[in-house]
Symmetry: D2
Subunit: 142 residues, 4 copies
């Protein structure tokens, strides 16, 4: 895949309304590999005053979605398992890195790690996509 | 547990900044059982134009967190597995129902289902909490 | 599907060498629904003297595989999450029940519960299959 | 921990009846790290003629259990998620490697990979233990 194609995919992913609303930035996109970051804002806390598990998950999911769609073929999540390894505080800068473990015609397997600014492990994710027989917009071979 | 205590827990959960920002409403809270709803807004979509997996997860997580903390003891998520059973569209009104499958001194097991307004299954979640030896605020035995 | 076809599928599943070696019995098979039982033998214990997680999983997996293949189309497991809800003892008679939550052309979603003879929950499983475009042997439309 | 202590733990794990019945060998044990191997025998196949998911899981579970108990404290599995990345054939020599991702007082997080003799990824596992306040036999501080 040419760099310009990856840039087009990255640009599409960056336009995700939900990721934008959470201030998630896609820092890196290669085929089967993506890095995204997010600062935990006050409006991402749960009632206990800790970062909401859903916000941490959304960051991991965004990196995963980027890696899963990085080949130009539309991929949808089937299963995701998140383990919350350690607590983080409001204001933390989180980094999610998604790596493709295996890619088949219809199924792709991924592992994602979420770390904080000190490099400590915050969450581990194992995830699977189903790849549709549809190219991403603008990747229809034309 | 008295109804007034459950109401106090429900009020705490309702104040979760992240759940509020997503418009999530806690519709029901009983010991080991919670129902929450969320309308999928335009700002919850992913780059493909579908509801972001992270938003669906956040709803399920909120119902789970409510059920897990419903006994007045602070509970934190360990592991959550979500299966995305079927796609939903923007504007859908989603309902997450969390049921406690087993409760031990330190560990609790839950199953959560997310359905749409027609009752169709959107996502299944299986999840586990670790229960700290800390009461929720206001539940310190006093 | 006719009863005779389900019987043929059940007969195939019963011939699984691994399930046979563990003494697993397929008690019931309907489309999208299966029940299997297993007695925890002494040779199924782990080094702590408890039933090995792998043996409990194998029972759940067998019920899941039966339900997943019950439509006459070859299905393979993608992801399975098991939560070990409560401990059981050697000699326990376990029962796994698999229910299809959703069935698509290529993907099927299942929940499996493992209970003991008293009906107590031993393990919860959430699992997903990929359905190949291949009939089971003897189901090739002929 | 002294090498002699790890050897004692390894010896205990090796005596697991279920692991023995499957011919699983514990090849390596360090604190938070274990490697186990298993040859897929004819009696480990499923009804489709492929290695039974339960047998592959049992190998991963054994490596995980070894790593989880490697500190001399009794650990029990809470949740395990297995993704079946690629198919293997009867006769394959499988290798499971478990790595501790994080260890707390009561909870430990692990990732396990199963590979074949060519080093190809067969399965990914993400797993969590609960650590009891009990030493393993022979590790009671005396």
């Amino acid at each position: 895949m040419e760099a310009s194609q990856l840039e087009r995919i990255a640009a599409q992913i960056q336009r995700s309304p939900f990721a934008r609303s959470l201030g998630i930035r896609l820092e890196k996109l290669e085929e089967g590999h993506a890095v995204a970051t997010m600062k935990v804002r006050e409006d991402m806390l749960n009632f206990q005053g800790n970062p909401h598990g859903g916000a941490i998950f959304a960051l991991a999911d965004t990196a995963f979605g980027a890696a899963g769609n990085s080949h130009g073929t539309k991929a949808v999540a089937l299963d995701m398992t998140i383990s919350y390894v350690s607590a983080v505080e409001a204001g933390a800068l989180l980094r999610a890195e998604a790596r493709e473990e295996s890619l088949g015609n219809r199924i792709g397997f991924y592992r994602i790690t979420v770390t904080d600014q000190a490099g400590s492990l915050v969450a581990n994710v194992q995830a699977t996509v189903y790849r549709k027989r549809e190219p991403l917009p603008g990747f229809d071979g034309s």
